[in-house]
């Protein structure tokens, strides 16, 4: 167990370094001098020169990277050119909003997918089964931003039930909650697809197991067999799959936040891109990618806790 944890931690280090190098290099992909790019077309030459020195652009690339990364590790990602504010602060304000959206979307996806997948497995070839297949196909094929637009059209423009965009405040307040419903639904439906499909197939597999037959033979109620024996054992691959969905969730959040003007890191990144606020964009990307790698690490480390069978294998 300890070896597994250490091995997984050690594996994450080169990935983190590689990703940080990549994000650092990005600014050098912009055609022209980064300092001139930062300041815009109408900057005075002496300002560009001063900024070059301030940013350390006159030093070797390796030294620049070291500077960037040591500052970043101290929580200093520089200053946004548009907001004239600390990038770390801006990201810190946006991140909880994205987390809120992501957790709500995940909850909605499980609320849809688990009952649907379970019903489909228990009653194959019925309406429930076809509904599960429908969700699975649509969830993969319908682009999240189109789904978002259609939801806005139906529930905001036509029915006036829910607000079309923005965040209404903390989720425990009424405006906060009603603003969260549509974006979370748009993001959650896509996630529900693979979870529903997986729930159906895993429960079908588990229902074939000997211990389920034994449970039935003992005369346990079907309900108990389904929930205690079948669903509970099917949960391991489902939780694993949720871990794998973090990437989809993050990419989807970028698109969903844009549609709903949700003040999260996705919208912060897109706004920074539109405004050519390169330091801000770089900072958001660094935080997002590092967070993504760390979340995956946590998920990997959590497997042995969920599935006792894995503990032996990894020593």
């Amino acid at each position: 167990m300890a070896t597994y944890v250490l091995k997984r931690l050690a594996e994450a280090v080169p990935t983190l370094v590689g990703a940080s190098v990549l994000v650092f290099i990005l600014i050098h992909l912009v055609p022209g001098d980064p300092a001139a790019v930062y300041l815009g077309l109408d900057a005075r030459p002496q300002d560009v020169e001063a900024l070059r020195r301030h940013l350390g652009l006159d030093r070797p690339l390796t030294e620049q990277y070291w500077l960037y990364i040591t500052h970043a590790l101290h929580g200093d990602l520089g200053e946004s050119y548009y907001y004239k504010d600390s990038i770390m602060r801006l990201v810190g304000q946006a991140l909880p909003n994205t987390a809120e959206l992501a957790v709500a979307a995940l909850a909605i996806s499980l609320l849809i997918a688990l009952p649907l997948g379970l019903a489909a497995a228990l009653r194959p070839q019925t309406a429930a089964d076809y509904a599960a297949t429908g969700v699975a196909v649509a969830g993969v094929a319908v682009p999240v931003f189109w789904l978002a637009i259609m939801l806005i059209f139906l529930f905001a423009v036509r029915l006036h039930w829910l607000p079309a965009s923005g965040r209404g405040g903390p989720v425990w307040t009424a405006p906060g909650l009603i603003h969260l419903i549509l974006p979370a639904l748009a993001l959650g439906l896509g996630l529900a697809a693979s979870t529903a499909r997986l729930t159906r197939s895993t429960v079908l597999d588990v229902l074939d197991e000997d211990y389920v037959r034994t449970a039935r033979a003992k005369g346990l109620r079907p309900r108990t067999v389904t929930l205690r024996h079948a669903l509970r054992n099917a949960l391991i691959p489902i939780v694993t799959n949720v871990g794998l969905q973090i990437g989809i969730l993050l990419s989807g959040a970028f698109l969903t936040e844009t549609v709903f003007s949700w003040p999260g890191i996705g919208r912060l990144a897109v706004d920074a891109m539109v405004r050519r606020d390169y330091p801000l964009l770089q900072g958001v990307l660094l935080v997002t990618i590092v967070l993504f790698i760390l979340l995956n690490l946590v998920v990997d480390l959590a497997y042995p806790l969920l599935d006792p069978r894995l503990r032996g294998e990894h020593g």
Binding site: L26, P31, V274
Partner: protein
């Protein structure tokens, strides 16, 4: 890609028969053929230019003159969907071809060559795989700047790590097969083994993988364009159209319906076609998809 010496004819016949039995895959393929033909014939099928604005006719609902209606600038949505399909299909197919070619090159070099190169490239692949594809593409697009060439190049680059890993894995598996060992024992050179046995046998795997991936690439392209990091307006492109539509939902909701429907149907079609091709080529490969 296929080589008569490498693939026995009976097997190939069986592939087509298995594929022809799969009605869903056939329907997907037929839909894509019709759509591709319609998009290719866009200049004939759409009387109006996709970018021509008619100020007298903004927000026109679908009618005989404008089958899919007109958008906020009075542009014909039917024409824009067709021209958009042309652009989306061409860019996505180009991106997948570039990713496949790059994947074959790197995957064969690392899988067949092995050694230090393999180690270094695979570590780099791991880094890129640790970043969601859309995020990687967005990051590169934002800094490189949008053009049709950069859209294709960056879409291809963002998929390249997966292609490389998949092709390298296939090459590694092929290397262990008996017919390769037999050919080597008969004195075939590395070059001949590569040309006659390794490359031809990669064809099917790549065809299946890239078909399944095309749906994802179309979605990624539209998504990037939607947030402004892909094809730029006023070009007719499905993601660009949806970004416009988002602004005009109250007055012209139909402008949001058709491009979104087009993306969805194309993704479904590529998925069922790819599934069918995979099952036909190798029934044992069932349930393997690009992630």
């Amino acid at each position: 890609m296929s080589d008569p010496a490498a693939v026995p004819p009976r097997y190939r016949q069986g592939v087509w028969e298995r594929f022809a039995r799969n009605r869903l895959a056939l329907a997907g393929g037929a839909f894509l053929l019709v759509l591709a033909a319609a998009c290719a014939a866009a200049p004939l099928l759409a009387r109006e230019s996709p970018t021509a604005m008619s100020l007298g006719m903004p927000y026109g609902p679908p009618a005989a003159a404008h089958l899919f209606g007109t958008d906020a600038l009075g542009r014909d949505v039917w024409s824009r969907v067709l021209w958009g399909g042309r652009l989306d299909l061409m860019l996505s197919i180009a991106a997948v071809l570039v990713a496949s070619a790059g994947g074959v090159f790197i995957g064969v070099a690392t899988g067949y060559g092995g050694g230090a190169l393999d180690e270094v490239v695979m570590r780099a692949v791991d880094v890129f795989l640790a970043i969601p594809e859309l995020l990687l593409a967005l990051a590169l697009m934002a800094f490189v700047g949008p053009s049709l060439a950069s859209v294709v190049g960056i879409l291809a680059f963002s998929r390249l790590p997966r292609y490389t890993r998949m092709i390298r894995g296939t090459v590694l598996a092929l290397r262990e097969r008996e017919f390769i060992a037999a050919s080597a024992a008969l004195g075939a050179t590395r070059g001949r083994l590569l040309r006659r046995h390794i490359l031809p046998n990669l064809g099917g795997t790549i065809a299946v993988y890239s078909t399944l991936d095309l749906g994802g690439v179309i979605g990624a392209l539209a998504g990037l364009s939607f947030i402004g990091a892909g094809v730029q307006p006023p070009a007719p492109e499905w993601g660009v159209m949806l970004a416009d539509a988002r602004q005009n939902l109250v007055l012209a909701p139909w402008t949001a319906v058709f491009p979104g429907l087009a993306i969805t149907l194309v993704i479904i079609a590529f998925n069922v076609l790819g599934d069918g091709a995979r099952d036909a080529l190798d029934p044992r490969m069932r349930r393997r998809r690009p992630g």
